[in-house]
């Protein structure tokens, strides 16, 4: 007998496949089988069709393509006998899915089978429909399924109920049809039907609001009663699972009660008793009992508050936490995270257990517990909790250290009560796990250190000690090197000692030693070495006696292959040698870095296009803000904290910028209803910037023109604003102010507050005159229609006449197309253009507009620009 003909039994084929030793062998066997099946399919072989389909299903499970057998399924389903239908439907469910078009052909067979007399065939059809029906099939067959919800046989009813779930998922509009039948199904006694009806009810409630209301009113009491019966029912072997009678039904009931009670006080009242009973009476030594308790806790947390129940729930969770089974502890930690938002106090009571879980051997429990601890931390318990976490940091696994460090750092940062504690904790963390610490963390540390001026001595001494012990942690080295550079004199002279310190003797040479070691260490990377060079420069000024030695060390990096180091060493060397007079001014003590600015920028802005070389305050004279800029957050450290929305940075910007003119500068840089308006402004600014002498401002302004996006422009303006905030550097500011004033319109006395607004000569130049006529719709006082009239004062014709306008953020501008592009000369004609301005601050602020007019005169491009600020007040 040919081993691969249809006469082979399924069993033999499976054995043959399993006997293959290599993948290639298996492929060969499968290929031969498929070939014979294909031959049988094309021969339309009736006898072995079901066997071939079974073989095909097995091959499909192995992962080979089997689309040629799809029609076989259909033929088997259409056959009259039960066995054929059975295997046909199974093939349908396995080989096809709802996306195949072949599925549509089955609809008719399904319809007939749904009306079959044999209840098992009806069951088969319902099963297939429930598992893979598509939306069209669902729509077609929904009436049949609805009818079957009231079939005489309970098995068919329960299958019909589950099938309806899929129908509703696919076609939510049909939900109303099922509401009534379900209400009657909920009164059944048969557990299977009840189970499925509850499921259907739950899905109906999620899909349709009206269904939810209906069930809430009509069925809540009934369901509570059913739950009571289920909980109190005596032992029934049929439904018993590890001593509990039908836990599945109880869980489903609890879930539907949760859906019904959520957000509704009355329904919640009805459930209180039974929930309390379930919570207290259910045994929890087996998984089934725990599953019920878990569902019960979830329900209690979701329905409306009734004090005592919540406490009960959290106690159950506490018990779960001390269970030995990992699954249960995981589930409890999950739930506690949700519970914190509801009742934080109660969760605090279990803090100790949760801390234990952080040290657990199972990785997912550790992670969950750590997140939970992070949520639990507040001002009162931050110190002991941090201590625990840092102690654990020493013994934790490598892969866990990263998470742990990040969380500790953000806790310390958010909640540290005083600076000295902050610095201490951070030092400990850095010494333990400095290599896992992200850049923003130690940047933040430096910001805090500069702010704590009384602690400078203490800090630098602690860092000195730290670098001796933990020199392998990169972050420690960097922070220490920076501090020693800054505050080296405090270190050597033991200035600013606090009572708890022991005096240490450090000579100037010792400090230079430390830095020399750091710079020569083979693991130091570019940033560290660069910082060391800078620190050496600072020390050469503070400790003139070591100048020569420092010079030698710096010179060693002159030949470095890394550009940054080479550049720095050459520059610093020349400073040390030739520019002694400059040196002390250059390396003066760093001004205090503004914490508010730093944390405001961290929380949601992107890095500005400024040089991000860290720890290098010397490059740019106005050290304060430019150094703060590199400390920008690249990635938000505290993932759990919702980062303040980007809208906060423009507000923050508003505070920095103040002044109306600048506010319109920033606002128009951000959102504009018309891009042309923004271009007007940008061009205005860029022509102004050629007057500016601070080259970096130009770079920033051009940054605006390249990228109109919200954040980048905000940040560019940020750096633009910083020279402005710095009073010594008001030059670019004044140049911009001059620019804005320079194009001021010829003052026309504004007519005051006439109810009919008189026409306004908005702009007048030697060649052009622009008059605005206003009108307002009754009933919308904040919207103004403006008709703009352009008149040509010269005798030449202007062609390609384009008018553009820009408005500040509180206004919205809509320009309609102009009447024409050509403006004939000598007032022989005019161009009209309609504008519509909506004033969101109507009554509080008056209109302000910047305009730009471009046209061609004798084929030469001309450009006129101006600002109109003499609009009538109450427009």
């Amino acid at each position: 007998m040919n081993p691969f003909s249809s006469e082979t039994r399924l069993r033999d084929m499976i054995r043959a496949i399993r006997a293959c030793k290599t993948a290639a062998e298996e492929r060969a066997v499968v290929r031969k089988e498929c070939a014979s099946i294909r031959a049988a399919v094309s021969d339309n072989d009736n006898d072995y069709r079901h066997r071939n389909l079974a073989k095909l299903m097995f091959i499909h499970m192995l992962g080979y393509p089997t689309h040629f057998g799809q029609m076989e399924c259909l033929k088997l389903i259409a056959a009259p006998g039960f066995p054929e239908k059975r295997i046909g439907y199974l093939g349908l469910m396995l080989l096809l899915d709802e996306r195949q078009e072949v599925l549509m052909l089955v609809t008719n067979s399904l319809k007939q089978d749904l009306n079959h007399t044999n209840q098992y065939i009806v069951g088969l059809a319902l099963c297939a429909l429930g598992n893979i029906s598509s939306a069209e099939m669902a729509r077609d067959l929904a009436p049949e399924v609805e009818r079957l919800l009231q079939f005489r046989d309970p098995n068919v009813r329960k299958k019909a109920a589950l099938c309806s779930i899929r129908i509703i998922k696919k076609v939510p509009d049909l939900a109303e049809n099922f509401v009534n039948p379900v209400a009657s199904l909920l009164k059944e006694k048969h557990h299977g039907v009840l189970l499925t009806a509850i499921q259907l009810c739950a899905d109906l409630c999620t899909v349709s609001e009206e269904a939810l209301e209906y069930f809430r009113k009509k069925c809540t009491e009934g369901l509570v009663k059913v739950l009571k019966d289920a909980v109190n029912s005596p032992y029934a072997p049929e439904y018993d699972i590890s001593g509990i009678s039908d836990p599945f039904l109880q869980i489903r009931l609890l879930r539907i009660l949760r859906i019904l009670g959520h957000g509704d006080a009355d329904a919640s009242d009805l459930m209180n008793d039974i929930l309390a009973q379930v919570a207290t009476k259910t045994e929890s030594n087996k998984n089934a009992g725990n599953a019920i308790l878990y569902e019960c806790v979830e329900t209690i947390m979701s329905i409306e508050d009734s004090g005592g129940l919540r406490v009960l729930a959290i106690n159950i969770l506490g018990r779960f936490l001390s269970n030995r089974d990992n699954n249960i502890r995981y589930v409890a930690l999950n739930m506690l995270m949700k519970a914190i938002s509801v009742d934080g106090q109660a969760v605090q009571r279990h803090r100790a257990t949760i801390l234990e879980c952080v040290k657990d051997s199972d990785a997912s429990i550790r992670k969950r517990a750590l997140e939970l601890v992070y949520l639990l931390v507040n001002e009162t318990n931050v110190k002991p909790l941090t201590k625990e976490l840092i102690d654990y940091l020493e013994v934790s696994d490598q892969d866990f250290k990263g998470d742990l460090t990040a969380k500790i750092c953000s806790i310390v940062e958010k909640l540290s009560p005083e600076k000295i504690w902050y610095i201490d904790q951070m030092l400990k963390v850095l010494c333990e796990a400095g290599n896992y610490v992200k850049d923003e963390v130690w940047h933040g540390l430096i910001v805090v250190i500069t702010n704590a001026s009384n602690l400078h001595g203490y800090t630098v001494r602690s860092l000195y000690r730290a670098i001796q012990t933990s020199g392998d942690q990169e972050a420690v080295v960097r922070v220490a090197v920076w501090c020693i550079g800054e505050y080296g004199d405090l270190l050597v002279n033991n200035i600013g000692m606090l009572e708890l310190e022991e005096p240490i003797t450090v000579t100037e040479n010792d400090t230079v030693d430390v830095i020399e070691v750091a710079i020569k260490h083979h693991t130091s990377d570019l940033t560290t070495r660069a910082m060391c060079l800078t620190a050496l420069l600072k020390l050469s000024s503070r400790f003139p006696s070591c100048s020569q030695r420092i010079k030698d060390i710096v010179n060693q990096s002159k030949g470095s292959l890394l550009l940054e180091l080479q550049q720095r060493s050459i520059e610093f060397d020349s400073i040390i040698e030739k520019h002694q007079n400059l040196r002390s001014a250059l390396v003066e003590r760093m001004p205090v870095l503004d914490e508010a600015t730093y944390s405001g920028r961290r929380a949601g802005s992107l890095p500005a296009a400024v040089s991000t070389s860290q720890g290098n305050p010397l490059q740019i004279p106005n050290g304060v803000h430019k150094t703060a800029a590199p400390l920008l957050d690249l990635l938000d450290l505290s993932a759990d904290d919702p980062a303040p929305q980007s809208s906060s940075s423009p507000n923050f910007l508003q505070d920095l910028l103040g002044g109306d003119i600048l506010s319109s500068v920033s606002q128009s840089g951000t959102t504009q209803p018309q891009k042309s308006g923004a271009d007007v402004l940008l061009d205005l600014l860029s022509t102004g910037s050629s007057l500016a002498q601070n080259g970096s401002s130009t770079a920033d302004i051009l940054l605006i023109s390249q990228d109109n996006k919200n954040k980048t422009s905000v940040n560019a303006l940020d750096s633009l604003s910083s020279p402005m905030a710095n009073s010594a550097q008001s030059l670019p500011a004044s140049s911009i102010m001059d620019l804005l004033d320079g194009f001021g319109p010829s003052p026309t006395v504004p007519n005051d507050n006439g109810p009919a607004y008189p026409p306004l000569v908005a702009f007048e130049s030697s060649s052009l005159s622009l008059v605005f006529n206003f009108s307002k719709q009754p009933g919308s006082p904040h919207i103004t229609q403006i008709e703009a009239n352009f008149t040509n004062k010269s005798s030449d014709i202007y062609t390609d006449f384009i008018f553009q306008a820009a408005v500040p953020k509180f206004l919205q501008l809509h320009l309609e197309p102009a009447s024409s592009n050509t403006l004939p000369g000598s007032g022989n004609g005019s161009i009209t253009q309609k504008l519509r301005v909506t004033n969101n601050q109507h009554g509080k602020k008056s209109l302000v507009m910047r305009i730009r007019i471009s046209y061609k005169l004798n084929n030469k491009d001309m450009l006129e620009e101006g600002q109109i600020s003499n609009f009538p007040r109450d427009l």
């Binding site: 399924l10 006898d47 079974a54 066995p83 557990h191 699972i241 599945f248 599953a291």
Partner: protein
């Protein structure tokens, strides 16, 4: 086997246990080979327990009764035809 986000995880464990126990009762000390060689019967049993991802019946005896009834239908049809081609496995 995939579960929804809001499902009760502990209950899913129970359902798995339930399914395995049913298989055990049907095949008599079920092992992996049983599942491989009788995969279609395994699927039939699964179809009696879950549809559309939801639990269908919480009573093992009912599930058994259903499966037995359907198997006897198949047997009856086999008797009627009494041809080799009806023997799938």
């Amino acid at each position: 086997m995939c579960v929804n986000q809001e499902d009760n995880e502990l209950e899913i464990l129970e359902i798995i246990q339930y399914f395995v126990e049913t298989l055990n009762r049907y095949f008599g000390s079920v092992c992996e080979l049983d599942l491989i060689f009788h995969f279609h019967q395994t699927y039939y049993i699964l179809d009696e327990i879950l549809i559309a991802g939801e639990l269908q019946e919480s009573s093992k005896t009912t599930v058994h009764r259903q499966i037995d009834a359907q198997d006897s239908l198949v047997e009856a049809a086999k008797e009627k035809e009494n041809t080799v081609s009806y023997i799938i496995a």
